[in-house]
């Protein structure tokens, strides 16, 4: 398994989730989103440190001094936050995937073992909200369905070789949630890809510009 891909998934997801800070629909949710962002960031740091050890680079070297062409995250995590429905559907898709992936790596891999538990919590949280939004009001249903339709294509990239086998477990997790939330599962058509090879959307370089600006402005400084 490529630590860098997993690390970048977690890091970029954390960056996006942290954008919600002080913008959540309620105070409790602000706290929950920050929690999940902190979990993702924590896992990213452990994975980056491990990946960097082989390359003689620190977690910060890897986070702050690579360009978007060198990032290996899936496209799903770099997409803009959109509304709360987009964020929660994205988290549902992502955490179901991360949980499965970490489970296959644990228990030998101690970082994955720790991350499994956290992913389970993220998945629970996202599930709860997708149910509320899908089966809430007319407006929330409409928004949730739109989010599912828009994001579904990006889930194919998660199960590209050698991870085809995980798709079934993922579907078994995700599809019943959509069904209970009265949300239609989209057809499998468009399959955007490229993230694992460093060919991202136009969104990532802008995200990194903001994330890296201060670090890059002071080469070699200690913080």
């Amino acid at each position: 398994m490529n630590d860098l891909a997993l690390a970048d998934d977690a890091l970029i997801a954390a960056q996006r989730l942290a954008e919600w800070c002080s913008r959540g629909p309620e105070l409790e949710e602000d706290i929950a989103l920050a929690n999940i962002a902190l979990d993702q960031l924590g896992t990213a740091r452990l994975l980056l440190t491990r990946a960097g050890a082989e390359l003689g680079r620190t977690e910060d070297d890897l986070a702050y001094l690579r360009t978007d062409r060198e990032f290996r995250n899936c496209l799903l995590v770099e997409l803009p936050n959109g509304d709360f429905a987009v964020t929660m559907v994205k988290l549902l898709f992502l955490s179901a995937y991360q949980k499965l992936l970490y489970e296959t790596l644990a228990p030998e891999d101690d970082i994955a073992a720790k991350a499994v538990k956290e992913s389970a919590y993220h998945l629970d949280h996202a599930t709860l909200w997708v149910l509320r939004l899908g089966d809430g009001t007319e407006e929330s249903h409409r928004r949730a369905q739109q989010a599912v339709d828009d994001l579904w294509p990006y889930t194919h990239e998660l199960f590209e070789p050698p991870f085809e086998a995980l798709r079934e477990g993922w579907s078994v997790t995700v599809e019943p949630v959509l069904a209970e939330a009265t949300l239609a599962r989209p057809e499998d058509r468009w399959r955007p890809t490229g993230g694992r090879a460093g060919v991202h959307t136009e969104h990532l370089s802008r995200l990194l510009a903001e994330m890296q600006v201060l670090h890059r402005a002071h080469p070699g400084a200690t913080w």
């Binding site: 890091l11 960056q15 942290a18 954008e19 800070c21 002080s22 913008r23 959540g24 629909p25 309620e26 105070l27 409790e28 949710e29 602000d30 706290i31 920050a34 929690n35 962002a37 902190l38 960031l41 924590g42 990213a44 740091r45 980056l48 977690e59 910060d60 986070a63 702050y64 509304d83 709360f84 149910l131 509320r132 939004l133 089966d135 809430g136 009001t137 407006e139 929330s140 928004r143 903001e210 994330m211 600006v213 201060l214 670090h215 002071h218 400084a221 200690t222 913080w223």
Partner: protein
């Protein structure tokens, strides 16, 4: 009334007033106003620091800052809960904030311009908050006192983090040191102003003292803060931007220049650099979340209805 006697006895005996105890209306109102303002400050205070989460210069600093801002949301949460024990709902209080009928601490109407501001806020703003809040841990109203104990514990953690940021900067590159000094230059006087107007001009204070909500005067607390900061600034190797700051042997405290109270009044009235921005941010977050809260309520109702059947 016997309730009043009991209330006075409890306060005199340094016992806690609890939600179900009788209390004077004015006491209740004062507390609601103060606790709500405190809660609002935590929530609005998330913005200036939140401004730098996305740009934190290392992942460790990013995690620390995000956790700190999250703590502030948590403080807001249990302060609103403390206020609710006095018979108002969080929703009412939030609306009073959004309508501009309740205030939050003026300090959050200043912008965070550089990373060093995160350090300066931790050191000075959280430092001032702690000096203000430690006496509140002995406040006569039980739920508030207990909330403050928890808040203070976390705040002092935050203050150390801010201090550490500044220390690293002031011992870093010349650019970093300049950045740290610049932040202290901008945040010093607004932090002094956090203790409120000078004692002579302070309303509410006397009654609050009698009720043991407040324990020290604004000026006493401000002095305490200055005396605390001076030795810390030396270790930080940063200059406090006050040419008249010096030890007064006779008084056993530091002489210092007062903040610009006219500026404080302008900011309180709404004309600080960021008042509009902070309120606009809070209002739009609240409005953007309306459909989410409605969905959650509708879903809960559906589940409740289903159970009844």
């Amino acid at each position: 009334p016997s309730g009043a006697l009991h209330f006075d006895d409890l306060v005199a005996a340094e016992q806690k007033i609890e939600p179900r105890d009788w209390m004077p209306d004015a006491y209740r109102k004062t507390l609601i106003r103060q606790i709500a303002q405190h809660a609002h400050s935590e929530i609005i205070g998330m913005q200036p620091e939140g401004n730098w989460i996305s740009r934190a210069p290392t992942l460790k600093r990013k995690a620390i800052l995000l956790a700190k801002v999250q703590d502030e949301a948590g403080h807001g949460l249990y302060l609103y809960a403390a206020a609710e024990t006095l018979g108002v709902s969080r929703e009412e209080l939030v609306n009073l904030l959004l309508e501009g009928r309740q205030k939050y601490s003026s300090i959050f109407n200043y912008p965070t311009l550089t990373w060093a501001d995160i350090g300066a806020i931790g050191w000075l703003v959280d430092g001032a908050a702690i000096v203000n809040q430690v006496p509140l841990c002995r406040c006569s109203y039980g739920p508030y006192a207990r909330a403050m104990i928890r808040v203070c514990k976390e705040e002092s953690f935050h203050q150390r983090q801010g201090y550490e940021i500044l220390y690293t900067l002031s011992h870093g590159t010349p650019e970093q040191k300049a950045m740290a000094q610049d932040a202290v230059d901008r945040w010093w006087y607004p932090s002094l102003a956090m203790f409120g107007p000078p004692d002579g001009d302070s309303t509410h204070s006397e009654q609050s003292m009698a009720w043991k909500i407040k324990r020290f005067s604004n000026d006493d607390l401000r002095q305490k803060f200055v005396d605390m900061c001076v030795p810390q600034a030396e270790i930080l190797d940063l200059r406090i931007p006050d040419p008249d700051l010096r030890w007064n042997k006779e008084r056993g405290v530091h002489d210092y220049t007062q903040p610009d109270y006219a500026e404080l009044m302008r900011v309180i009235k709404g004309d600080g650099p960021c008042n509009r921005q902070r309120m606009e941010h809070r209002r739009s977050a609240h409005e953007d979340g309306a459909w989410v809260r409605e969905a959650a309520a509708a879903y809960a109702q559906k589940k409740a209805d289903a159970k009844k059947k």
